[in-house]
């Protein structure tokens, strides 16, 4: 969907941009939750918009909310021309949504003009026009300075007049006149047989057409909204589910137009130290979405409880949507594995919302969840388990709904943890559809063997983190979840008692090996001692020899000196010439001179 929109943007982006630059398409925000996002800013300002659909699809309410939001949020007074319901009925109908139309009327911000049309047909006696309507409407607009007008449902007039040619001409004139007045108008129309409206008035309202629908699938009703046409503007082209909730209409875009989530590198602890380590550096990314899938009783909820516990311990809020267990059951069950969630509930940090999935339709669930998230503003949201939603809707719908939930949570920077129950070890289709949305996917499996059933946990994926690719054994102890290494070796992957036996065997093997090593070490030491002793002997011998050599050298040089002095003495005795310079003395031996 996102890709499609991106393509559209690329193709017609230039023309739209220039149109907007020229100021050709100003929009009037409706103020209706989600609708402005889908229409990219609202309805065409100063032009009529047709809202059509079958009976009971919420046309009138949408139109009225458009007026009410205009008054309360944009300071734009409005006029409601009601052909079907009386002012009293309208006021009563929307009072439950918190709209006090009487107050708006009293404050001069709203005019409700109920026109009762004689359905049996009025006698026509000549030429006529709809000036009466024009004048009434004009007066009402002038009275409050209206910027918004709703005409609900103008096709009723077709029942009153037999000359439809005149009526059509007059309606065309009416829409032109409304444009001239510069009021943003919403015209409602009931769906006809094979046509958008019963009398084809979409022909005259060509700027923007919104189609509402109300379908029942799997005994669950879903309202949908689609922008059929929006001249000169980009708009979402999908069918968007919408809800009539206690605060009005809420359109839920299937996906955010752009994937512009807040991205955080901050980690949040999973509450299980070993799992934090498996994820690389201290847990899930803040604002990421985690899927924990596994077969029944594998400890998915316990893992979720750990996460809540860790979150609340840091003083953050966690919101736990449970579709299977009540709050009391969860608190008791988690206490049995040593996780005290009650303290956080008491502290107001943890909130449970336990509902059966079939209590509400899928969209209503989504809305209720989003509303509660908006109110409670948690850091962490748990959905336990999302697979239960399959009971009330088909897989593609559940996947689409979860996509929206993921987008919603990501947009708010909330970390989401969804659990999913698999009927067997194989992940089911929904898991796969969700898996592409989530950032981290944990799989808890059970392996049966040796008369026991052991749980293993593996990380199937974890975006953006150097995570462990190893399977860990997943133990539920009296103090919560513990992860241990599984035995991986020549005997295969072992868990439970088999792993322990293997580990014991390895421990005994190790002891033997250590003893052998000790022996070797002793032997080596002894050998070293002997070598050192031998070396010392050799050194001593070498020293002795060196001493002998030294002595010999010193004796030799003393002899030379003696001989030289003897020669000098002999010369003196022979009465040699006086002053015989020493240098000229008969050289008998080189050694003499040098001495």
């Amino acid at each position: 969907m996102v890709t499609t929109q991106a393509t559209v943007t690329k193709r017609s982006g230039a023309t739209i941009e220039s149109a907007v630059r020229r100021g050709e398409l100003p929009k009037t925000p409706t103020g209706i939750s989600g609708l402005d996002e889908v229409t990219r800013g609202g309805l065409p300002r100063g032009r009529p918009t047709l809202v059509c659909g079958p009976a009971g699809c919420g046309k009138t309410l949408l139109a009225l909310e458009f007026l009410v939001r205009g008054i309360t949020e944009f300071d734009e007074p409005g006029v409601m021309v009601a052909f079907e319901e009386s002012a009293e009925d309208l006021i009563a109908n929307v009072a439950s949504l918190g709209f006090d139309l009487n107050q708006f009327t009293a404050d001069g911000q709203l005019v409700i003009d109920h026109i009762k049309v004689d359905a049996t047909g009025t006698k026509e006696t000549g030429e006529w026009d709809l000036d009466g309507l024009f004048l009434r409407l004009g007066a009402a607009i002038d009275k409050v300075g209206a910027k918004r007008v709703v005409i609900d449902t103008i096709e009723t007039l077709f029942g009153a007049f037999s000359n439809t040619a005149v009526l059509r001409f007059e309606l065309r004139r009416l829409f032109g006149w409304l444009k001239d007045r510069g009021v943003t108008t919403v015209i409602t129309g009931e769906r006809g047989d094979g046509t958008l409206t019963r009398y084809g008035i979409e022909e005259y309202v060509s700027d923007c057409v919104i189609v509402l629908d109300h379908r029942v699938t799997e005994q669950t009703s879903t309202r949908r909204l689609r922008i059929l046409k929006y001249r000169g503007s980009l708009h979402g082209t999908n069918e968007y589910p919408f809800l009539i909730a206690e605060t009005g209409i809420s359109v839920l875009p299937i996906t955010s137009p752009a994937l512009l989530h807040i991205v955080s590198t901050e980690r949040v602890s999973t509450g299980v130290a070993r799992l934090d380590a498996m994820l690389g550096d201290g847990g899930f990314y803040k604002g990421s979405t985690v899927l924990v899938s596994g077969t029944a009783g594998t400890g998915k909820s316990t893992l979720a409880a750990h996460f809540c516990d860790a979150t609340c311990a840091l003083g953050d809020r966690a919101l736990y949507f449970a579709f299977e267990e009540s709050e009391g059951e969860i608190l008791r069950n988690m206490a049995s594995v040593g996780i005290d969630l009650k303290q956080w509930v008491d502290a107001g940090l943890l909130r449970f919302q336990c509902t059966r999935p079939n209590l509400l339709g899928l969209e209503a669930h989504l809305f209720a969840m989003q509303k509660l998230v908006g109110e409670f503003d948690p850091a962490v949201v748990i959905l336990d388990p999302v697979s239960d939603l399959l009971r009330i809707a088909t897989e593609p719908n559940v996947a689409a709904m979860l996509t929206r939930q993921v987008d919603f949570l990501k947009a708010r920077g909330v970390t989401g943890l969804f659990t999913s129950l698999n009927s067997d070890a194989q992940a089911n289709q929904t898991d796969h559809q969700i898996a592409s949305l989530v950032d981290t996917w944990l799989l808890i499996e059970t392996a049966a063997g040796n008369g026991e059933r052991n749980r293993t946990l593996s990380l199937l994926k974890s975006r953006g983190m150097a995570h462990s690719n190893q399977i860990r054994e997943f133990l539920l102890t009296s103090h919560g979840v513990e992860l241990t290494d599984v035995y991986v070796g020549p005997h295969g992957v072992l868990t439970g008692s088999a792993r322990e036996a293997q580990e014991a065997r390895e421990r005994s093997d190790e002891t033997v090996r250590l003893q052998d090593l000790e022996q070797l070490r002793g032997k080596l030491a002894r050998r070293r001692e002997s070598v050192e002793a031998q070396t010392a002997t050799l050194w001593r011998e070498l020293q002795d020899e060196a001493d002998i050599v030294g002595r010999s050298v010193s004796q030799g040089s003393t002899g030379d000196e003696n001989r030289a002095s003897q020669r000098v003495e002999q010369g003196r005795l022979r009465q040699a010439d006086a002053d015989e310079p020493e240098g000229t003395a008969p050289v008998l031996d080189g050694n003499v001179r040098s001495s």
């Binding site: 006696t125 000549g126 026009d129 709809l130 009466g132």
Partner: protein
Amino acid sequence: MSATFLPIADEEEIWYFRLYIAGQSPKSLDALSNLRKLCERHLAGRYEIEIVDLVENPSAAQEDDVVAIPTLVRRLPLPLRKMIGDLSNTESVLVGLRLQPRATP
């Protein structure tokens, strides 16, 4: 069928009309002159016409739920009858008012 509901106009009965018009528009003027002609011919001396100009008083349209112009409302005799158009189709007006043209002797 018309024979069954014919309370042929009582000679003593007062007819009270209200005509909704929009200023001096041609259709409005036509309707007024057509109505006057018709009353003079069939109800001489026992009719009253109230003209409501929606240009001057648009909110007056609410009382009789008027959207089309011109609209003629017969307020008396009861029951209330309403018709639209410039009243140029005299026969249709007479039928609508249950005011049969006097039978020619």
